[in-house]
C-alpha cells in the first residue's frame, strides 16, 4: 500500500467509524488531493470549505473543540501562512489556557518548487515556534500510520508535514550506518530521497556516509543512535526540504550540537524568494547540491 492509499484508508475509517471530520478547500477537485482523500460526501464527514484560508483554520479549531478530531487538509504548505494563525494561537494553547484539548490532524502538503512564491518555504518553523504543536514528517506508509496513531492516542494538534513525493512510496526507508564514516547525514522529508541518491554518488568517490532519517521534528529527541553516529564521523549535516536555514534547522542543529563532539552543518532552502522561472526557483537541496556540500565539508575538516 502506498502512502497515498494509507492516508485515504485512515481518513475513510476516521470519517465512517469515528464520526471524525475531514475538511479543506477543493478536496473533491480533480485528483482528490493526490488520491489521498476518500470519495465521500459531506453527510459522511468530508467538508468542503470556502476559500477563506484564515477563517478555515478557525473553523478547524471549532470542530476540534467539539472533539470531532478533524483532519485539516492544506493542499500547499505555503497556504499555512494564512491557515495557521488560529491553530497556532488557539488550538496549541487551548490545553494550557483552559484545560480543553483541541486535537487537529494538520495535513500540510509540500511539493518541490515550480510554483514560485505561492508555496515557498519556512513551514515547519512557523509551527515549531509555538509550544503545544508536535511536528512530524512521514515519508513511508508505516511512518504515516505512526503519525496517525500518535494523534489518536494524544490530544494535541499535530502538524504533519507531508510531501507529494511520498504519495507513491510503498516501502519503508531504513537508516544506513557505516563503519568509519566520514559524515552522518540527518535528512528530513523529501531530502531523505535526495540524500539516498547523493550517497550513491559519494560512495563512488570513497566518501562514506551514515544516513539517519528524521521523522519526528518536535519534540526532537537526540537519540543515542544519532550521537554515536555523529561522534564516529568527522562531522554531521542536517538537511531539510521546504524550510529556510534560519528556522527549525538551526534549532535542531543546536539540540544535536549540545550532545555531540563533532561539528554540525545545515542545508535547507536558500535565503531568498522563489520565482516561477526554473532559474529563479528555490528548491530543496538536490542530490547534486548535497554531494557538493558534503565534499566541501569534509575537505575543510
Amino acid at each position: 500500500m502506498t502512502v497515498a492509499e494509507t492516508i485515504k484508508k485512515i481518513t475513510r475509517e476516521h470519517l465512517l467509524k469515528n464520526k471524525g471530520l475531514a475538511l479543506g478547500q477543493c478536496l473533491t477537485a480533480v485528483g482528490w488531493v493526490g488520491g489521498t482523500v476518500p470519495e465521500l460526501k459531506q453527510e459522511e464527514g468530508l467538508v468542503e470549505l470556502s476559500m477563506a484560508d484564515v477563517a478555515g483554520g478557525g473553523i478547524a479549531v471549532g470542530i476540534a473543540l467539539a472533539q470531532r478530531r478533524p483532519i485539516y487538509i492544506v493542499r500547499y504548505q505555503g497556504f499555512q501562512w494564512y491557515n495557521a494563525p488560529m491553530i497556532i494561537n488557539y488550538a496549541a494553547k487551548s490545553k494550557d489556557m483552559w484545560g480543553i484539548p483541541c486535537p487537529i490532524f494538520i495535513r500540510s502538503i509540500a511539493m518541490d518548487g515550480g510554483i514560485g512564491p505561492v508555496a515557498s518555504g519556512s513551514h515547519h518553523s512557523m509551527y515549531s515556534r509555538m509550544p503545544g504543536v508536535p511536528i512530524c514528517a512521514p515519508m513511508t506508509p508505516k511512518e504515516y500510520v505512526a503519525a496517525w496513531e500518535y494523534f489518536m492516542s494524544h490530544d494535541d494538534p499535530l502538524y504533519v508535514s507531508e510531501h507529494r513525493r511520498s504519495f507513491a512510496i510503498d516501502y519503508e526507508i531504513d537508516d544506513s550506518i557505516q563503519e568509519n564514516p566520514d559524515i552522518t547525514i540527518l535528512a528530513i522529508s523529501s531530502t531523505r530521497l535526495n540524500a539516498i541518491d547523493a550517497i550513491k554518488t559519494l560512495e563512488q568517490e570513497n566518501i562514506k556516509c551514515n544516513l539517519i532519517h528524521l521523522f519526528w521534528l518536535k519534540p526532537f529527541e537526540v537519540t543515542e543512535k544519532i550521537i554515536n553516529a555523529i561522534n564516529k564521523s568527522k562531522c554531521g549535516a542536517l538537511i531539510l526540504d521546504g524550510d529556510f536555514e534560519n528556522g527549525i534547522l538551526k534549532s535542531l542543529a543546536y539540540d544535536i550540537s549540545q550532545n555531540v563532539t563533532k561539528p554540525i552543518s545545515i542545508l535547507g532552502l536558500e535565503e531568498r524568494s522563489a520565482g516561477f522561472a526554473p532559474q529563479c526557483d528555490n528548491l530543496p537541496p538536490s542530490a547534486v547540491k548535497i554531494c557538493n556540500r558534503i565534499k566541501t565539508l569534509i575537505k575543510n575538516i
Partner: protein, 295 residues
C-alpha cells in the same frame, strides 16, 4: 444613526411577562454591580492584570440570555457580563480576575479570556474576532445552538467575514451578536469603515437587524431569530469606561440602566425593581468581600 432609541418598537416591553422582565433586570443588576466591584478592586490595586469592563453594556447579554438559553458561547474581551448572564459561577470569575488557581480559567484567562466548561463558554485567545470562525466550526461539528459575540471592531477582521459567509452557506445554528459601542479603543466606526455589519450579514443571506440596546427590543429580535438561524444582531450600546481599565471620558451618550429603570417604573414594577437592585448589590458586594478576604 446611533441613538438610545434606534429601531425602537413602541410598547415592546409589554410583550414580555413580569417574570421575564424582572429576571432580565436581575441579571442586569448582577452584571452592573459585579463590574462596579471590579472597578473598585482594580482601582485599589487588588486586581493587577488588565480589565475590560462591560459597564453600561449589560443589557445585551442579559436580554439575549433571557431568550436564547444555554448556547455554546464564544465571546472575547469584555465578556464578564456574557459569563454572568449565562449563569457562570460568580465566585470563580472573581477568583479569575484576582489571578487565583480557583478562577474559572485557573488564572490563565484573566478578564479577557473567560472560560467555563460548566456553561459551555469557550476561552478567547486574545486576537480579536477569532471566536467567530471558531464558533462557526463548533456549530458545524455539533449543530447545536451557538452564540458568537463580536465588537464593532472585531467584526472588521477579514476572517470574521469569511466565517459569516460560511455559516450562511451551511445554515449553521449561530446567533451572531455585535456589541457595537462605536469604538475601537477610541477610534469611532465612521473613521474605520463606511459599511454596516448588518448589511454585510444580510448580503450573505443572514437575517439581520440593527437596533439600540433596549433589552426588551433585544429580547424581541432574539425571539424572532431563534427559529431562523443563523442570524445577526448589531446592537448599539455605550461603553461608559475606557477600553481597558476604569477611566471615563465625559458623560455617556446615553445611560441604558437609567432608561431601563424608567421603563420599569412605567410598567409599574418600580418597587420590585428597587428590591432587586438592593438584593443583588448586597449579594455581589458580599461575594467580593468574601473572596478578597481570602487573598
Amino acid at each position: 444613526m446611533r441613538s438610545k432609541d434606534f429601531g425602537y418598537i413602541s410598547n415592546i416591553s409589554k410583550s414580555f411577562t413580569e417574570n421575564e422582565t424582572l429576571e432580565m433586570f436581575e441579571k442586569i443588576c448582577t452584571c452592573r454591580n459585579f463590574e462596579l466591584q471590579v472597578k473598585i478592586a482594580f482601582d485599589s490595586g487588588k486586581i493587577k492584570s488588565p480589565i475590560y469592563l462591560s459597564y453600561g453594556m449589560e443589557s445585551i447579554p442579559c436580554a439575549i440570555s433571557a431568550i436564547y438559553k444555554k448556547p455554546a458561547i464564544f465571546a472575547q474581551h469584555r465578556g464578564h457580563s456574557f459569563y454572568l448572564a449565562n449563569n457562570g459561577d460568580i465566585t470563580a470569575l472573581i477568583d479569575e480576575l484576582l489571578g487565583k488557581s480557583t478562577g474559572c480559567a485557573r488564572g490563565m484567562g484573566g478578564s479577557a479570556s473567560i472560560h467555563s466548561e460548566a456553561i459551555k463558554m469557550f476561552g478567547h485567545d486574545g486576537h480579536m474576532g477569532t471566536q467567530i470562525p471558531i464558533a462557526t466550526g463548533y456549530a458545524l461539528a455539533t449543530r447545536k445552538n451557538t452564540l458568537a459575540v463580536m465588537g464593532d471592531a472585531s467584526g472588521e477582521e477579514d476572517y470574521v467575514l469569511g466565517a459569516l459567509g460560511y455559516a450562511a452557506t451551511k445554515k449553521l445554528p449561530i446567533l451572531f451578536v455585535c456589541t457595537d459601542n462605536n469604538l475601537s479603543i477610541l477610534t469611532d466606526v465612521k473613521t474605520r469603515r463606511s459599511w454596516k455589519m448588518s448589511d454585510v450579514a444580510q448580503s450573505f443571506g443572514i437575517p439581520s437587524v440593527e437596533i439600540t440596546d433596549d433589552p426588551w427590543l433585544i429580547m424581541h429580535h432574539t425571539k424572532m431569530f431563534m427559529q431562523n438561524l443563523p442570524a445577526f444582531i448589531n446592537i448599539h450600546s455605550v461603553r461608559i469606561l475606557w477600553h481597558s481599565g476604569t477611566g471615563q471620558d465625559g458623560a455617556p451618550e446615553w445611560d441604558r440602566y437609567a432608561l431601563i429603570k424608567e421603563e420599569l417604573t412605567r410598567l409599574g414594577f418600580e418597587k420590585k425593581a428597587e428590591e432587586i437592585e438592593t438584593r443583588t448589590k448586597e449579594y455581589i458586594d458580599k461575594l467580593w468581600e468574601q473572596q478578597l478576604n481570602k487573598i
